[in-house]
């Protein structure tokens, strides 16, 4: 206990929390919850645990002071938003909601002793752990594509410096060049994200470098919102975009960064002026290294969870949410992560209060822009069953392909895409 108190006081000093909050936090907590990861899932969980019950002590473990959102990062790549427009920070979480933000990385989780070891050597004890580590890249899965290669051929699938790099490369490339994208098979973060990116790069090239081409090399034969995207491409970008599916040798198995070349499964070599390589992914390192991910099978590298609670099926009192979790049919999106986080916060708060937790419902609402004033969406209401998470029949789905006034409909959905971002930012980081 003495050890815990020392650790606690030390962390408060380190986090420089406002005195009023520190005084309140010194009252004995009803429960200690540690949240790992300050993205859409983790930040939502930390905030909503405190909204559910201010008597729960919540510690967010996130080394960064600022977070660049992947949602809207394609707007930066398309040139109509700046990187500064997609930055969120944790000041409201600490200052307004009394979450302790520890700016270190989690290096190991021990579910047996219910502790998390931090990069600085300190250990945090928890009653419940919420793990939202996002994804890491499977370096080397595509031969020649490692972290060093991403400095030449950015993935830009973690937003921030990689986003800025891809944007700079597009600005620097000559008119008439080829922008190549390598897109992985499922599952990966944000299923429609690569196709929004293709669209918004095309939007930029059409205005600034109209003789250029986009070559999208895909590791699958079908993709999210496909008909809606392809309708938009035909309408707005004509033959600027060439999409090559798996069945037409779209899968990239090797890259040669020094020669700006991508090599397909059957040996076709594609030379590009700009190469955006989105590699296969898996649950963030901390999850896999702590034994919380499947080690084999179809979902190797992803974290199995109880569909009713998002509690890990491999460790008690550990809840895995967001992209790292295998949520079945729930897409790996920021909205899904936030919805899962709210359900987990409610579940934990109910257990702490001695209530029977209620049956959760999960939602996804995801907008993609085909152009800055042309939006499309997918939405679903998900329910847990003993056989996994299912979409509620008869509900949800895609924007209509042929609405009565299509131009107005797409325009409205673009406005709502920006509105989505404004609301989500406040709901999570505000």
């Amino acid at each position: 206990m003495a050890m815990k108190r020392r650790t606690f006081v030390g962390a408060i000093a380190a986090a420089a929390i406002l005195p009023a909050v520190a005084v309140r936090a010194q009252a004995p907590a009803k429960a200690r919850v540690v949240v790992i990861g300050g993205g859409f899932g983790g930040t939502t969980a930390a905030k909503f645990l405190r909204l559910e019950d201010p008597g729960i002590a919540v510690t967010l473990v996130e080394p960064k002071a600022e977070f660049h959102t992947c949602p809207a990062s394609n707007y930066v790549i398309g040139g109509f938003r700046k990187l500064a427009d997609i930055v969120q920070d944790y000041s409201a979480l600490a200052g307004r909601h009394g979450v302790r933000h520890v700016r270190e990385a989690a290096v190991a989780i021990d579910p047996a002793s219910k502790t998390v070891r931090l990069s600085g050597g300190q250990t945090l004890a928890y009653d419940k752990l919420v793990l939202s580590p996002g994804v890491d890249m499977r370096w080397g899965d595509i031969e020649g594509y490692d972290e060093a290669a991403s400095a030449t051929m950015p993935h830009a699938w973690h937003a921030g410096p990689q986003t800025a790099l891809l944007r700079r490369q597009l600005e620097a490339m000559p008119d008439g060049g080829v922008v190549a994208l390598s897109i992985p098979g499922l599952p990966y973060r944000c299923p429609p994200g690569p196709y929004e990116r293709i669209s918004l790069i095309a939007h930029y090239l059409k205005m600034a470098k109209p003789r250029s081409k986009i070559l999208a090399l895909d590791g699958k034969d079908a993709f999210s919102k496909q008909a809606l995207f392809q309708d938009g491409w035909a309408e707005l970008y004509k033959d600027m975009i060439e999409w090559v599916p798996l069945g037409q040798d779209g899968k990239i198995v090797e890259v040669v960064p020094g020669e700006m070349t991508l090599v397909s499964e059957f040996g076709q070599r594609h030379k590009a002026a700009v190469a955006n390589v989105i590699p296969p992914q898996f649950a963030g390192n901390i999850a896999r290294e702590s034994g919380l991910a499947d080690k084999a099978g179809q979902f190797e590298g992803w974290c199995p969870i109880d569909p009713f609670t998002f509690e890990s099926t491999l460790a008690k009192d550990v809840y895995v949410i967001g992209d790292a979790a295998n949520g079945g049919v729930m897409p790996k999106s920021g909205f899904s992560a936030s919805s899962e986080a709210k359900a987990v916060a409610r579940h934990i708060a109910s257990l702490v209060a001695g209530r029977t937790p209620d049956l959760p419902v999960y939602i996804n609402t995801c907008y993609s822009l085909v152009a800055p004033d042309y939006g499309i969406s997918v939405a679903d209401v998900f329910r847990p069953t003993k056989d996994g998470i299912v979409a509620t029949p008869g509900a949800g789905g895609l924007s209509p392909r042929h609405p009565p006034d299509a131009a107005a409909f797409r325009h409205h959905e673009a406005e709502y895409a920006y509105g989505w971002y404004a609301s989500m930012s406040q709901d999570i980081w505000g």
């Binding site: 109880d306 009713f308 049956l359 969406s377 509620t392 509900a395 959905e413 989505w420 971002y421």
Partner: protein, 103 residues
Amino acid sequence: MNALACIAACLTVLLAVAGPAAAQSLAPTTGHTLAATCTSCHGPGGRSPGAMPSINGRSEAEIAKTMHEFKDDSRPATVMNRHAKGFSDGEIAAIAKEVASWR
């Protein structure tokens, strides 16, 4: 299945902490839970900072009526018709009560 694989499979079952929480071990879904995700698009407390309509300050009856109109497609919508169809009439009533309670 050979003996070794069987032992491995049995161990895996033993090591797993529990099967899925049974639906019947959980309480019925509350309005609080159903409405929790509304704020993702409509803003904290239903006060939207952007293009999404604010839903704060509307009466329970108005919210329920609007949701039913989305559900039966009698009210024009982009995405809310797709959402509303995912909820039972009882759930819509619970959502309306919860959202109307936001201050």
